[in-house]
């Protein structure tokens, strides 16, 4: 019933080391290898291709965070882990939109997933708040904050980029921007 999954799938340990080393190539091979499996699950259970993309990426991020935090133990095949997480996420989504008819058509074996999804959701809420706050912040504050705190650019670079006459002005500006971002962030909670 299920189509054969891409044969160039990376081995499970390749994936773990790839994630730890931020390897783009491995991430890509991983993504391409298991996407069809998840697509098959979603589109045959009342979902669209976009639903499949969202669910799959969410699952990859779960895996990514678990590996990065050192909490990931490979107790089953990686494929089974991803399928199980996607299945759980999709069941949750179906229940939310009341499209879940009580049975799901399965294509792979799966394991019961306890709380990975919930852990992930807690963080997601923080990120969504941050995303909202940054959008409200406006320019040039948004770029200044992103450049300094996310991309680790130096104040010197930022000064030049925004044409500030001296570093102190830029620092004052950055301070004001950060205060506003905090305010916006905590207002959303």
């Amino acid at each position: 019933m299920s189509k054969a999954v891409n044969s160039s799938a990376p081995t499970d340990s390749e994936v773990i080391f790839g994630i730890l080393n931020d390897s783009d190539a491995i991430l890509k091979r991983l993504y391409v290898a298991y996407f069809p499996m998840v697509l098959q699950l979603i589109i045959n259970n009342n979902g669209t291709t976009d639903d499949a993309k969202d669910v799959y990426q969410e699952a990859i991020i779960v895996l990514y965070n678990k590996v990065k935090s050192g909490k990931f133990e490979l107790s089953s095949k990686l494929k089974t882990f991803l399928y199980s997480v996607c299945r759980k996420l999709w069941l949750k989504r179906l229940t939310q939109i009341s499209r879940y008819g009580g049975d799901i058509k399965d294509f792979e074996e799966y394991l019961p997933v306890e709380d990975e999804g919930d852990l992930h959701t807690e963080r997601d809420i923080q990120f969504e708040k941050m995303d909202g706050a940054l959008k409200l912040l406006g320019e040039p504050c948004k770029t200044i904050i992103e450049d300094f705190y996310i991309h680790n650019h130096s104040m010197q670079d930022i000064c030049e980029r925004f044409g500030y006459t001296n570093a102190d002005n830029a620092k004052t500006q950055k301070y004001k921007c950060l205060q506003r971002l905090k305010k916006l962030f905590f207002q959303q909670g």
Binding site: V32, Q57, R123, E146
Partner: protein, 367 residues
Amino acid sequence: MSDHQLIELIERYLNGEMSADERDRFEAMRRDNAAIESRIEEHAHFTGLLKQYGKRVELESRLNAIHQEIDVHTLADELTVHPNWVVKLWRNHHSKISVAASIALFAAVATMYLTGSFTKNPSSYVALRREMQSIKRTAENAERNNKAILHDIKSSKRVINNGSFAGSGFALTASGYIVTNYHVIKNADSVYVQNSAGDAYRTKVIYTEPAYDIAVLKIDDASFTRFGNLPYSFRRSKSDVGEDLYTAGFPTDSLVLGRGYLSSANGLNGDTVAYQVSLPVNPGNSGGPVLDSKGNIIGVISGKQSQVEGAAYAIKSKYLFRVAKEITKDSTNNKIVLNSKSSLNGLTQAQQVNKIHDYIFMVKVYN
């Protein structure tokens, strides 16, 4: 020190941009001042979140870039489970199919209703023998029985009790043959007849024909000699729909007359043994005669339809001739000739009833 300066210090501290000297001083300050300590933690947490957020955004954009390269639509087509054509037909057209099926079902039911399929329910046929159980009737009968006793003392006739069932019957010949329904006397131990004058006689069942629902009784009682000549005749030919009819019987303890007309040449569900008659009949009328206006017996009341008003059934008199023939054939001394000359022709209804009422009996059944 302003908040701005403090934040700057914290940032330099966290980023490791301080000289060893400066760091020692700052750490001393941090230990002494809980407010500064909490500011450091808060700032570290928030900027940490910002960094994580940035990483997440970056990861998402990497994943999106990878996703762009996949031909999702071709894959989706390949991976969709295609159900077989029956399931597809149902999924695409189930509402139309449902509507069509509903219409077909409705049409079938409507057709069955209009053609009368539902009325051919044999359970709606009610045989009209009467159960003798109500308390009121028992009391009435007690009184009647007292009268009967008085009567019997005078005329030395048999005293009879209340029966378990009752129907009607009428004289077939002057010699003491009485016709009633088979269902009236079915399973009887003994059968008595009693006319409206109170004359009661013990009888013997001498012939039954369950197929026609006819039974013939013969009075077997020392006090009985012979009836006078029968006032009515028996009609051999078919009667026509629309003819005026009347019946007399014992749905209560006294003779009740009912008038009506012949409504159909056939009985329930096209039964050719019976006519359908429009006459008011009730339990106890079974076995009563149906006469036309000239005083010819055209049938014997046998039952009615429970859900339809005014649809009663009477066994055709033709079958009485058959029964008479059967009885004659089977025995040597019982010759039955049915009266063919009515003396009622031209009389009014009241005069006719007056003449026939002595020949109509309540049939009491004991079992």
